[in-house]
Amino acid sequence: MYEAIDISLKAGERFIVKNVNLAITPGTFLAVVGPNGAGKSSLLKVLSHEQQRYSGSVQVNGMAIRSYTPKSLSLIRAVMPQHSYLQFAFSVEQVIRLARQAHRSAKAVNDLIVEEVLEVTGMQKFRDRNYLTLSGGEQQRVQLARVLAQVWEETVYPRYILLDEPTSNMDIAQQQFMFNLVKNICPRNIGVMAIVHDVNLAIQYADNICMMRNGEVIDSGKSFDVFTKTNIEKTFCCKVNIYHDPCNNCPFVIPEAEISSMPKIAINK
């Protein structure tokens, strides 16, 4: 289990994250949804231990996260950030290989893992390409491959993947491909948490949902239980209608179009 217990994070006097409890169970996919500025990314930074000035505690496989060294933690959890900051012309394969840096595994093991993640992400053809010349969606696929390579080996302990909007630059086909892939790696004793903007993608693939607004958890639990009309409208401040999608056998959410004239600009002259 990867547990956040009563997490609060402040910026000055303002709470960015307030009394949040959350658990990632190995073998399942947890999606965190909420409007912009809900504190999702900040919560992810607390969970990944990048942000260390919070109150509350994070437990990883039964141990406090603060008791791990960066190296030992990196064997258990991998993080895919929203943005990549690579400035140098590394090849795709090299970027993925960086994931194996902390593991002291044999070269043959690393080679095999790199091959496998290149294959599952469909990036084999791109292996020698300069990462900087790839499109945004392709770069995200490389980043996912890197994250997978970090925790790919089967181990006795459960591993975790934290994804911050992994499909933000992807077209609809790639989005489906990515989420399907992420869902399929859960059975490898991996727990996944992803920040997801597209509510319907979350409904289609996530096992559990955590809905956040203003730094607080509005509701969490099984996907279909959380995605109610009231919950969504309360969280996103947006009128929606929920229909049943017979093809995927799941609900789908459509926001009501807001067609009205531009709000009056009230400036006293």
Binding site: T69, L86, Q87, N130
Partner: protein, 355 residues
């Protein structure tokens, strides 16, 4: 570009070996040219004699004296400084994830220069009261101290909440450089012409002061920092992803930042104290390696050390011969060869991308 990326790991030793061979050839040329011309064959034999080979071979005594007391220490110092500057530039660029960073940014050169000019202008009377062994390397010690002090300030001020903030560090580096620039200007304002020319000559760099005594003190420091930085190639590769990602991948980022900055400051500080400010090597050599071969730091770091040594040695040969018997300041030569070459390279890279 895509083709270059295809050069895989197994080619790296080849590139390094190639550079090493070029260094050996250039070293022999450097040993043989100068006011007293020593034929290449004699130069090689004397060099081998020093390591105990060919000891029965007769060679001209003048050649041997010139080689062993003047040229050999100079060549060794040039190689060590070139390597130290090249690798410090490469590792700081890697650490700051910015290809435009040069070692001066962390305040070393500025701090050294300010300390030196102040010592030249205000401290010369005081210095004569010092013991001889300190007086002889007075400028070197002052330069090293000033460089360390400035770097310490930059580093100390950029730590917030136990973490080194790189963006703040760069800004403080700029501010410290402006401050040292002002101090230099102030000292020059009070200086007489003699002092100004001493300082100007020092700022442009001078490899002529090499002696075995200086090398005995400086060589271990230069070697430790150069070799030490080479161990960071993999870590710097991971850091290229960004600090947060590197942390997620198990890198102790704080420790790495401090160690790399410390080693680079040591390398540059010692270099500046020996030979003054030699610009451009630290900026240009890593760039050349990245553009011509690859951005992988496990190549860029060692190749920058070798390339830096090679470029500085070639520059030194030119500086000694072109206006012989006088010497051009080394900093002028490195920039004169380096800058046009660099511009040409960038232009070609740009053209290739546009095609």
């Amino acid at each position: 570009m895509e083709l270059i990326l295809r050069i895989r790991d197994y080619k790296y030793p080849l590139i390094i070996t190639g550079l090493a061979i070029l260094i050996v050839i250039t070293t022999l040329i450097s040993l043989s040219v100068g006011a007293v011309g020593i034929p290449l064959k004699e130069a090689t034999i004397i060099l081998l004699k020093n390591i105990g080979l060919f000891s029965h071979f007769p060679v001209d005594e003048v050649y041997e004296v010139v080689m062993n007391t003047i040229r050999l220490p100079r060549v060794i110092m040039t190689l060590l400084i070139g390597a130290a500057l090249g690798i410090s530039g490469a590792s700081l660029q890697g650490l700051f994830r910015n290809p435009l960073v040069e070692p001066g940014l962390i305040g070393v050169s500025g701090g050294s220069a300010a300390a030196v000019v102040i010592a030249i202008v205000f401290g010369s009377s005081m210095a004569t009261t010092l013991p001889v062994w300190i007086y002889n390397s007075f400028i070197s010690i002052v330069a090293f101290g000033g460089g360390c002090l400035a770097t310490f300030f930059v580093l100390r001020l950029s730590i917030e909440g136990g973490r080194t903030n790189i963006a703040v560090l760069i800004l403080i580096g700029v501010a410290v450089n402006a401050l040292t620039g002002a101090l230099i200007g102030l000292a020059i304002f009070y200086a007489d012409e003699n002092q100004i020319s001493t300082f100007m000559f020092w700022t442009l760099g001078d490899l002529g002061g090499a002696t075995w005594d200086k090398l005995r003190m400086a060589a271990p420091l230069l070697l430790v920092s150069t070799v030490g930085l080479m161990f960071f190639s993999n870590t710097l590769n991971v850091l290229a992803l960004g600090e947060a990602d590197a942390y997620h991948l198990g890198v102790n980022t704080e420790q790495v930042k401090r160690l790399v900055i410390f080693l680079a400051a040591l390398a540059v500080g010692v270099s500046v104290s020996l030979a003054g400010i030699i610009g451009f090597i630290g900026l240009i050599v890593p760039h050349l390696i990245r553009t011509v071969f690859h951005a992988d730091n496990s190549l860029v770091l060692p190749a920058s050390a070798f390339g830096g040594a090679l470029l500085l040695l070639i520059s030194d040969i030119i500086s000694r011969t072109i206006v012989s018997p006088a010497e051009l300041p080394i900093g002028v030569v490195t920039a004169l060869i380096g800058a046009p070459f660099f511009i040409m390279l960038l232009y070609k890279a740009k053209q290739k991308r546009e095609l």
